[in-house]
């Protein structure tokens, strides 16, 4: 009854959702409407699938496939890679739904279709979608009793969900895996996995899955004949469904409790539960579940020896099985009806049922079904003393037995031996008796196997039904949960809109006020900017002043050589001429060599002076702002010398040990040389200043007015300049062993205008400019390490 508004709601939601998706993903209009159509068709197909309307499911899925096919083709032609994967996913989803739709008609074809979907989805690399297809394939195998394959695929899906990191899907899939483990008789594993899934789901508050887990646990407990535990788990699930007021869910629990009670031997209780479940289900469109309830009731009545009433229920069940359209279920309905007729006994009617089963089992490839029907037919013939006919069916059963549970094979050999015996063919009877014993022995050896087989036999179709129900109702619960979520999101969105509107009005009023304020602020800002420009210039000039002394010294040295070497060369020329006149060829040549050497030196020192002047010009000039490949070691070395002589020029007493440790593997790095040079200069000048400060305080402590340089000072001012390449970064570190930086000013040192120097001595812009140059100008880092009274180390980190 809930279904109609439910579907309409899906439509509305889908409309909203896909329109938004179209906008977000930026799909062109035609694509948007097509993807929208495909999504709706696939939703409808799924809807129909879970309502067991497989023909409608196939109809919608095929339409979805047709549109997604042509969309995919047109995108491939346009080689529009952006949407290609989206289209592939749509096609794969359509194919998966087609697979679901035809599973009852042609299992192999359904599986093939799923495999095609899998191939397409692998091209997109979308793990989530791939996992979903694995889940669908796993469900198909499970439904058809191929538990090993089912396990394989559910595990594949589980791994992918883990990889994707979707814990809700992971927990859900863990439940699926547990169910396949259970079907394989690995009850311990099944329970362990269910516990894990329960833990995750409880954390996620995923009610839908929590119910699933309780139900699945109930089944496992039933299988290991712990009825109390089974009923306990089911009770928990019932509680949740009751809270949710979910009548179909309640019916399902009644159903499962019925199964548990049946297994516990409490047939009357079981009957009551199944009848309650049936009452609810008769009001639903779920023919499937209605069949199951009739079948359970029939079984219990048959167990109680009430075959007439059992037959009535089985016939009702068959009717609903046929309405469901699932051939595998129809087959089961015929089988149980046949077996009931056999007990009635009405062998003619039984025979009709079994012949139908044979027919259906060949269509669906259900070996177990064929085997069971063949054995039943054979036993009818045996009862009629038609041994040759019996043998014919038994031999057919033997052929089908290869993939069926062992218990049936045993029965086949037992009956074959009996037939031969009755026919007087003792040799063959003996041989088949031997085979029977063999099978029986191997069964006896593995008691567990026997137990499992017995239980599987007993609960086979119940199991199948439960599985189908589990997956169907699970999907429904998930869908409902999704809708609730989306509804919630939409509500949040709506209230968000109202809030935004109110805020908008407030903002507009504020905007008018702000506008006035802004005009004032703009004026202030312009003034500030001018001041800042002046200050930056002042900082530059200040550091230029520091440089000048250094530069003077640096220039005097090369000039000294240039002047003197040129003078001495002039003298040497005269000497050379004298020697030539005297005929001392050898001496004249030696002098000529000296002159040549001198000219080279003059050239070298001339270039040196040139570089110094250029460096000075670069420093005073505004940065060109262009990065160029620069030898960072040469740059650092040059500025170290400039800074040293600058400090020396300022403070005659100053001296420091300079240590350099250059990493020669760095090569050229792309930087604005004059900017980084300025940073290095600034850091080194600071380092020297720190050393000088500590020297001064050390001298004062000695309280000695005479010349400090004469003392055997324990403190050796040392500045270390280091470059190092680390991976793709280059570190330039400047470390001094001065007084360090006090913790309380550490977070201020990069702020503009912060300085520890006496008023008038520092602009307070050195480090803040350095910081901006390194971080904003070069995308690097400027870090500081310090310990008070011991050292300070600044590290420039640049990209190599």
């Amino acid at each position: 009854m809930k279904m109609k508004p439910f579907i309409i709601f899906i439509f509305v939601l889908a409309g909203i959702f896909f329109r938004q998706e179209g906008l977000i993903a930026g799909f062109p209009d035609t694509i948007t409407s097509d993807t929208c159509k495909i999504n709706l068709l696939n939703d409808l197909a799924y809807e129909q699938f879970y309502n067991s309307n497989l023909d409608s499911c196939l109809y919608f899925a095929t339409r979805a496939l047709t549109i997604s096919d042509s969309l995919l083709k047109s995108e491939q032609e346009k080689s529009n890679k952006q949407y290609l994967n989206r289209c592939r996913i749509l096609k794969a989803r359509s194919l998966t739904n087609i697979g679901r739709a035809i599973v009852n008609r042609n299992l192999e074809m359904a599986l093939d279709t799923m495999q095609v979907a899998l191939r397409i989805i692998r091209e997109t690399g979308n793990k989530y979608e791939e996992a979903s297809i694995y889940t669908a394939i796993g469900n198909i195998y499970d439904f058809n009793g191929r538990h090993q394959l089912a396990r394989e695929y559910t595990l594949k899906a589980l791994d992918l969900f883990r990889e994707v990191g979707d814990s809700a899907s992971y927990a859900m899939q863990l439940t699926n895996v547990a169910i396949t483990e259970r079907n394989l008789g690995n009850y311990g594993d099944a329970l362990a996995k269910l516990m894990e899934a329960l833990k995750i789901s409880e954390e996620l508050k995923d009610t839908a899955n929590i119910i699933e887990i309780h139900l699945a646990m109930g089944f496992v407990y039933a299988f290991i004949e712990q009825w109390e535990n089974a009923l306990n788990s089911q009770g928990k699930a019932l509680e949740i469904f009751t809270q949710l007021d979910d009548s179909l869910g309640i019916a399902r629990i009644y159903n499962d409790m019925g199964v548990s009670n049946t297994s516990a031997g409490k047939l009357d209780d079981a009957l009551k539960f199944h009848q309650e479940a049936l009452k609810i289900r008769l009001n639903s469109t779920d023919n499937y579940s209605t069949f199951a309830s009739y079948a359970y009731i029939g079984n219990i009545l048959a167990n109680k020896g009430n075959y007439a009433e059992a037959v009535y229920n089985f016939e009702k069940g068959l009717h609903y099985a046929q309405l469901s359209g699932y051939k595998i279920i129809i087959l089961d309905a015929h089988m149980i009806l046949g077996e009931c007729y056999l007990n009635l006994p009405d062998t003619n009617k039984a025979m009709d049922q079994f012949l139908t089963v044979i027919e259906l089992s060949r269509e669906t490839g259900d070996d177990t079904g064929e085997l069971r029907a063949a054995i039943n037919i054979a036993s009818i013939y045996l009862n009629r003393n038609e041994h040759r006919q019996a043998l014919k069916w038994l031999q057919q059963a033997e052929k089908a037995a290869s993939r069926a549970p062992m218990i049936y094979i045993k029965e086949v050999y037992d009956k074959i031996a009996e037939s031969y015996f009755k026919l007087g063919d003792y040799e063959n009877a003996y041989l088949n008796r031997l085979k029977f014993d063999e099978v029986k022995d191997s069964l006896a050896i593995s008691e567990n196997l026997e137990k499992i087989t017995r239980l599987t036999n007993k609960l086979e179709f119940e199991n199948k039904m439960a599985l189908q129900k589990e997956s169907n109702e699970k999907m429904m619960a998930i869908k409902q949960a999704q809708i609730n979520r989306e509804r919630l999101t939409r509500n949040i969105f709506m209230s968000g809109m109202v809030l935004a509107l109110v805020l908008g009005i407030i903002t507009f009023v504020r905007f008018l006020e702000k506008k006035k304020l802004n005009n004032k602020l703009n004026v202030t800002l312009t003034n500030l900017r001018n001041t800042q420009t002046q200050l930056v210039h002042a900082e530059k000039m200040a550091s230029l002043g520091e440089l000048t002394a250094g530069i003077a010294h640096e220039i005097q040295n090369p000039l000294n050589f240039i002047n003197n070497f040129s003078e001495v060369s002039n003298e040497l020329m005269d000497e050379m001429n004298e020697e030539l006149a005297a005929g001392n060829q050898q001496l004249a040549m030696e002098i000529a060599n000296d002159i040549k050497q001198n000219l080279e030196k003059i050239n070298h020192h001339g270039k040196r002076a040139d570089a110094i002047v250029k460096g000075m010009l670069q420093h005073s000039r505004t940065s060109t702002g262009t990065k160029e490949p620069t030898d960072i070691n040469a740059l650092a070395d040059e500025y170290l010398r400039l800074a040293y002589h600058g400090s020396r020029a300022k403070d005659k007493n100053f001296n420091a040990i300079m240590k350099t440790d250059f990493d020669e593997t760095i090569g050229n790095i792309n930087i604005i040389p004059q900017d980084i040079g300025r940073v290095i200069l600034n850091l080194i000048t600071n380092a020297f200043y720190a050393c000088a400060e500590r020297s001064r305080s050390a001298d004062n402590e000695k309280n000695n007015s005479t010349n400090s340089i004469l003392h055997e000072q324990k403190y050796r001012p040392t500045v270390t300049l280091k470059t190092k390449k680390i991976n793709n970064k280059v570190e330039i570190s400047v470390r001094d062993n001065g007084n360090g930086i006090p913790q309380k000013v550490l977070d201020k040192i990069f702020q503009p205008f912060f300085t520890t120097k006496p008023t008038g001595q520092g602009t307070g812009l050195g480090l803040s400019m350095s910081y901006d140059i390194v971080t904003k100008g070069h995308g690097g880092e400027l870090k500081v390490n310090t310990r008070e009274g011991e050292y300070a180390e600044f590290i420039i980190i640049l990209n190599a």
Binding site: Q556, N560, F565, Q597, N598, K601, H645, M658
Partner: protein, 124 residues
């Protein structure tokens, strides 16, 4: 006369050897070179009193010329050798400091070798 020249600029050696080539040839002067203050002290410690005249640059990394001067004049050698200071700065502060520390003379860069020769000849 043995003269110790102290300067961190290595080309100073070639310059002196060429400028004083005649004096060296005629053995009037003998030159020894040290490229840092520390190196100069090492040399003086190993060769007591050998050098009677020291010519030192002031601006050098590590031990400065003034520091070296102080050590030579007040701590190491008795009687102390003649020490002449050379600097790139023609400023009073450096000059006064050098004088205070006992420098015998003061020269500025670029070095006037004719003047230096005169002073050296005057000392011998």
């Amino acid at each position: 006369m043995k003269i110790l020249v102290v300067d961190d600029e290595k080309d100073v050696q070639v310059l002196f050897e060429q400028r004083f080539r005649k004096d060296i040839r005629e053995k009037r002067f003998e030159f020894v070179f040290a490229f840092s203050g520390e190196e100069a002290l090492d040399y003086l410690n190993q060769n007591q009193q050998e050098a009677v005249l020291i010519l030192s640059d002031i601006n050098m990394p590590g031990m400065s010329g003034l520091e070296l001067l102080g050590k030579i004049k007040q701590k190491y050698l008795k009687p102390p050798p003649v020490v002449m200071m050379i600097t790139a700065y023609r400023d009073d502060e450096n000059y006064n400091m050098a004088k205070k520390l006992g420098a015998d003379d003061f020269l500025t860069k670029p070095l006037d070798f004719n003047l230096l020769k005169e002073k050296l000849n005057h000392r011998t």
